[in-house]
């Protein structure tokens, strides 16, 4: 391999790692809800769309950036409480499959509501972060992707501190460890679930802003769940660290596969290659790389 080819391979890997961070941003929203309620929230992608569409529409209506951010956060909080009250509470103690199906329906409701309220037009979202690349040792690196990686790192740090040091965060962990025991000591499950969905809404807002700036704010934002699912399988559904590590692995491996394996099998393989990697890991570690091992006795 000559020097140029080596540099190119490094560039592909770095680009993949940075893309992987973007996948992890979405996956973290899934993890938050799964960690505390055992529900795979299929509506996370719709929440990303709803958050981004609300934010950009407010900005287009003349609301300043910070104001739009706060108002969108308020909207996501209201959405979180509404979901708890109208979907989760009536389905309390139902099987995980029932709850999963409920979130599937919820995804359609949120997508429809977002388009009903804000319309179907495609919007440009400019966060003021340059898209132009800069060169480091012959490798092009995107400023935008680096900033996104920094934001993701900050978010992971905030969430980790939140889970470790705040009363609400500890309540989340208690509910995640043993729901009935948590209720027995007086934790109010309904309120905690609403708070978890609100937190997932805040994560959706961050992911929506970054992905929206990349793709434009449009319906396809809700399809980014397709990128997050293999990350979740690989990293484990209940590990924030797992989501980050798996995002990096999936991002780098799918890009390298697309460039180096793709030409031999007709190209366009990165869409399914990520799932193939996740499947292999499932066979070896059914709980993912960092997921909690489930022991059941029959």
């Amino acid at each position: 391999m000559d020097w140029y080819a080596f540099l190119f391979a490094v560039e592909v890997a770095v680009g993949g790692l940075l893309s992987g961070v973007m996948y992890a941003l979405v996956a973290i929203g899934f993890v938050l809800i799964y960690k505390t309620s055992g529900v795979l929230n299929f509506a996370q992608g719709s929440m990303v769309l709803f958050a981004a569409l609300t934010f950009v529409s407010l900005v287009e209506h003349g609301v300043p950036f910070a104001g739009a951010l706060l108002l969108t956060l308020a909207a996501m909080t209201a959405l979180g409480f509404a979901i708890e009250r109208t979907v989760l509470r009536p389905l309390a103690n139902r099987s995980p499959m029932t709850l999963f199906m409920a979130t599937l329906g919820l995804a359609y409701v949120i997508e429809g509501a977002a388009q009903l309220i804000w319309g179907t037009q495609v919007h440009r979202l400019d966060l003021g972060i340059s898209n132009a690349p800069f060169e480091v040792g012959g490798i092009f690196i995107s400023t935008f992707d680096l900033v996104a990686a920094g934001i993701a790192a900050a978010m992971v740090a905030i969430l980790t501190a939140f889970f470790r040091f705040t009363r609400t965060g500890l309540s989340f962990r208690a509910v995640a460890d043993d729901t009935f025991a948590a209720m027995a000591v007086g934790l109010r499950l309904n309120r905690i679930q609403a708070a978890v969905w609100t937190a997932a809404g805040a994560v959706a807002l961050v992911a929506g802003l970054l992905w929206g700036a990349r793709l434009g704010v449009q319906f396809s934002l809700s399809l980014i769940v397709l990128k997050a699912l293999p990350v979740l399988v690989l990293g484990g559904f209940d590990s924030i660290l797992g989501a980050i590590v798996a995002g990096l692995i999936i991002g780098a491996s799918e890009k390298l596969a697309e460039v180096y394996l793709g030409p031999f099998v007709g190209g366009g393989i990165e869409g399914w290659f990520a799932y193939a990697v996740a499947l292999v890991v499932l066979l070896v570690r059914p709980s993912g790389l960092f997921g909690k091992k489930l022991v059941e006795r029959f």
Binding site: G16, S19, F140, R214, L215, Q218, G271
Partner: protein
């Protein structure tokens, strides 16, 4: 003179008047619309169907219909999904007086070919669809009007040749085609290969998996290959992502040529300054500088009858495509009426109208669409109609036309189309139509 003789003229006049009134009440031509106003492609759907309905509305409002025959329509939401499109087709096909179907979806159109052939009703796939349906000998009821995918490919290569100083200058050039990973995206693979062989340019075709929201690997490959041009055969979110990823990898936007489904405001606006200089093919110009568009703005939107919820989208690419689609539908009905009478026509009679849809640039001017589109020349065996193409460049705010009308290389493409359609006919056991079959038309009585 007997009493009967004296009142006969009055009876006759009364019967004509009553009959006429009844006929005028009953004379409606219907368009069932498989539209998509929600879902991932809603921006395109609202623009196209908005323009189409606006034009039908203009004909009703300004002219009282086509020679007195009122145009009506009904809508069913498909979200661009094939199964929903077929369900809407099944639901609406019993509506009386159907003129034609216009699903604006390759997948839905494919699924309807057998059905419309049995129903004897035209199926229009303006600027898209299955290329070999151009051959009217095999597909009597399907019309990929103005531009089929092969002609589009030829038009793009001809444009690049014109920029380079002629087809000879293409030899040794390198062109990458970045295509959507779907049947639509793959439709033109063999034609690019054929044209690369004919003109001697180096070709690489790279697939982007659906929906195309991640293209880093593809653009790194493109940067390594250092092509002279990249042709973007995208759809939906794939287009702005291609432009922003190109910018991130240092590839200039003015070396990217978009196909006909990568040419709208929705494709470039989200990309911001990454789209400035990007060029795309089109069959119809955008903007409001055309009498028919201005008339719609004035008479339809001025009377609050417009179909677009945001009037700022009047004259956008999809809206103008919808208007052009309306013109072609209405003119086909007008041509068919000239032969069969000014009444509700059967689908087969409208098919006859489409097979004689010849609009010269002079006629295009008469309908207020001069320079909005060039002309069309549909015949019984050429259902595309030799549409001309032009190229537009995005300046950050609007599209600007930057080329003359360009003719694709129809003569080169026709044998390939015929080979494909004849293979289809052999597979289905169909007998090829001849010119003599064109005038065999199902009348209202036979329906």
């Amino acid at each position: 003179m007997s009493f009967l003789k004296r009142i006969a003229p009055a009876l006759l006049a009364a019967s004509i008047l009553t009959g006429g009134a009844t006929a005028s009440l009953a004379d409606e031509q219907h368009f069932p619309l498989q539209s998509y106003r929600v879902g991932p492609y809603a921006a395109g759907g609202t623009g196209f169907f908005g323009g189409f309905i606006d034009y039908l509305n203009l004909i009703n409002t300004r002219d009282g219909g086509v020679n007195g025959v009122k145009l009506t329509w009904s809508e069913g939401e498909t979200e661009y999904e094939v199964e929903k499109g077929v369900e809407v087709y099944q639901r609406l096909k019993s509506n009386p007086g159907i003129a034609a179907w216009n699903p604006l979806s390759v997948g839905i159109a494919y699924a309807m070919i057998d059905g419309v052939t049995e129903d004897q009703t035209p199926l229009l796939t303006i600027n898209h669809g299955r290329t070999d349906t151009t051959d009217g000998r095999v597909f009597p009821y399907v019309f990929p009007l103005l531009l089929n995918p092969y002609s589009e490919t030829s038009g793009i290569i001809n444009y690049i040749a014109s920029k380079e100083g002629g087809h000879e200058a293409l030899a040794g050039k390198k062109i990458v085609v970045l295509y959507h990973g779907s049947p639509y995206g793959k439709e033109t693979i063999p034609i690019y290969e054929l044209l690369a062989e004919k003109y001697g340019f180096e070709l690489q075709q790279i697939e982007v998996p659906h929906p195309g929201n991640e293209q880093q690997a593809q653009w790194l490959t493109i940067r390594r290959e250092r092509p002279d041009y990249v042709v973007l055969r995208g759809w939906g979110v794939m287009n702005p992502v291609a432009l922003t990823t190109a910018q991130r990898n240092g590839f200039p936007a003015d070396r990217i040529i978009g196909n006909v489904w990568s040419n709208s405001e929705e494709d470039v606006t989200p990309a911001g300054d990454a789209a400035i200089g990007y060029t795309a093919i089109t069959t119809q110009a955008s903007g409001t500088d055309y009498p028919v568009v201005q008339e719609i703005e004035d008479k339809i939107y001025g009377a609050n009858l417009g179909n677009l919820s945001d009037p700022a989208r009047i004259g956008s690419v999809y809206h103008n495509l919808g208007i052009v689609n309306g013109i072609l539908n209405v003119e086909a009905i007008r041509i068919a009426q000239a032969r069969f009478g000014n009444r509700t026509l059967t689908g087969d009679e409208v098919r006859w109208g489409f097979e004689h849809l010849q609009l010269s640039p002079e006629r295009v001017k008469e309908v207020g669409a001069e320079n909005l589109f060039h002309s069309i020349n549909v015949t019984w065996d050429n259902h595309e109609g030799e549409g001309y193409v032009t190229f537009q460049q995005w300046d950050g705010q609007k599209w600007n036309v930057i080329s003359d009308w360009i003719a694709p290389d129809w003569a080169l493409l026709r044998p390939i189309i015929e080979a494909s359609s004849e293979a289809y006919a052999a597979e289905k056991g169909l007998t090829l139509r001849t010119e003599a079959d064109v005038d065999t038309v199902a009348s209202p009585a036979s329906n």
